[in-house]
Symmetry: C2
């Protein structure tokens, strides 16, 4: 096999990144292990316990329960599944889930899979969910309210305290999707942790801003009993039940998550947040100088209304970029995204658009 992977030198679209060197080393060392079979692979199973403890530290949860999932999609699916099972136990036959329209598309996948009704709540001009709209959509059939802590499109954090109140008043759970945000939010003023808001379950992925190797997602639950909603019996394995969605799982992901968190929490992640946020602020300023409407980057993620022909021309230059649902250019300032990459990107943008700083736009 001669194929070589692309480098990251033009990747501005991904919410994953190059694993930290210690994370890569651990992934390679634990490549042939399976935490899904703890009787056979006990060392990596112990590492998973450590990963959950550390994720709890980051997310403000003493005595956390959870597991290292294949990624944020699995964790979001499992959160919806927990809520569905719990609602059924409470006699709700057709449970619903209220999700901000800024929620990741994995919630649509979860609803399809799990046969629950997904009810979208609109966001306001700040791209956070409208609380009144959530209130209108929550009723006795609501099993789960979702809040986003670092949205995929604009890096926004929903008002989680209020969402939790609304959910709990209706007897529903609050799930927070911090898949991408969880490793930058600790260094901001946002309120997002289990300690700061009445969060029941959370998605927080080491393989995104946590700089672990793929696959290393995270599901945390405040109350261990919530995990029991997921358990199925396991013959053949020398353990009695399994709460994960998948069976065989990646020990590489687990080991690399622990290695990355051991190395980087909290100082390394704080420094990376500072670099990424400074890069996002710099890029937002440059894009505004070129005359684009820019969505203020409250986390290290920049969106701007770059027209499709310009977007396509940048892709033709080799830039790996993506768009929001409404078509804006979206740049995620991951650890591999350096200032010099962004300088080169802005140069190319100026060239393909014919724009110069403070000049009148010519490409739209």
């Amino acid at each position: 096999m001669q194929a070589e992977p692309e480098g990251f030198d033009r990747v501005l679209s991904s919410m994953c990144t190059e694993p930290h060197p210690v994370a890569r080393e651990a992934a390679e060392r634990f490549l042939a292990t399976n935490p899904g079979d703890p009787g056979t692979y006990p060392t990596v199973a112990e590492l998973e316990d450590r990963a959950i403890t550390m994720l709890g530290d980051i997310a403000g949860l003493d005595d956390p329960s959870g597991y290292v999932a294949s990624g944020g999609t699995e964790a979001n699916i499992q959160a919806v599944r927990i809520a569905r099972e719990r609602a059924r136990t409470d006699g709700i036959e057709s449970p619903t889930v209220v999700v901000p329209e800024s929620g990741h598309f994995s919630f649509r996948k979860a609803a399809d899979l799990l046969d629950v009704e997904l009810i979208l709540a609109p966001t306001d001009e700040t791209h956070r969910v409208e609380l009144d709209a959530v209130r209108e959509r929550v009723d006795d059939a609501t099993a789960l309210v979702v809040g986003v802590a670092g949205s995929t499109e604009y890096g926004r954090v929903d008002p989680l305290g209020e969402l939790g109140e609304i959910a709990h008043e209706a007897g529903a759970l609050l799930h927070v999707d911090a898949a991408w945000g969880g490793f930058v939010l600790p260094f901001t003023d946002h309120e997002w942790t289990f300690a700061q808001a009445p969060v029941d379950t959370m998605t927080i992925d080491p393989h995104k801003m946590g700089q672990a190797a793929i696959p290393a997602g995270g599901l945390l639950v405040r109350d261990e009993a919530l995990l029991d909603e997921l358990a199925v019996d396991t013959p053949y394995l020398e353990t009695t039940s399994q709460a994960t969605l998948t069976g065989t799982r990646s020990g590489a992901g687990v080991a690399s998550a622990v290695a990355a968190m051991d190395e980087l929490w909290p100082g390394g992640y704080a420094a990376q947040y500072d670099r990424s946020q400074a890069n996002a602020d710099w890029l937002a300023t440059r894009l505004a100088d070129l005359g684009y409407d820019v969505v203020d980057p409250t986390l290290p993620l920049v969106a701007a209304d770059v027209p499709t022909p310009t977007f396509e021309a940048l892709r033709d230059e080799g830039w790996r970029i993506s768009r929001t649902g409404t078509g804006e250019l979206r740049v995620v300032c991951m650890p591999h995204v350096s200032r010099s990459m962004l300088e080169s990107f802005v140069e190319d943008l100026a060239a393909v658009s014919g724009r110069t700083p403070t000049a009148v736009p010519t490409d739209d």
Copy 2:
């Protein structure tokens, strides 16, 4: 992080194994790629196409569709999901799935997740599903009939041709679980492929007997339209839809699957099958000589009625062994399981049980 993974020198329980050196190398090279985002990581997305083509070669399917899943559990879940969606399109409100009692527990997980009724069909004295029992359980509500090609407990292959006829007469699909068996069955007389039986969907995992790195499961479908049942829209990604259960996926798994199949299909896998089967036959003979009832290993997997105290004593000696649902010792002759390992295991078994070849049993 100082933890080191256990070696494989006493692992007799796992259906995974050490990845082949070329598979390990490819996994390490593609560690930082994500086939779930083909717009950003096009090379690994192309490798996934190649993986599916090669899996189709192995499983007798020209022009195959499918994807590299996180493992057999995901592939089995998705097969049930395809059948559920298709049944609903046909107006079946409460679809059922008929699964041999020898089916993997992932089908129970799938049924729980997807809210379909799982109907178990008993197996006969040869540990294959009873066709009459399947016929009795299939009706207008049946969405899927499952056949196992290499069962987890005894390595048995169900009569897939007949199961397909029963399924199709009822308007249902046939799914074959060849997660473990798919890389040894090509070298046997069993009829299990898409070419030999009316199979609609199949699970076939490179990370088991295929010697790829975890996570590399496989889902194959005969008709590409079946995959459309799984598709959800994907904003943010420069592709339009996604049929996988997870979002971010492991490029390491995909690349290592291609590397292993390029290296080993068919000659290397054939040689490995010969070694593994010879080891299983040797172990079965030794266990019978010690006076145990042994289930004839038709594939490289040996089960025998070793009593619990002996089983526990072997675990105390460091052997990683597991049991069938009815409590028999179960040894999977994976590529890492050598003759000398088995000789050492049989010596320990004789020592802890107090049995000698042809002597009267003393441990039960």
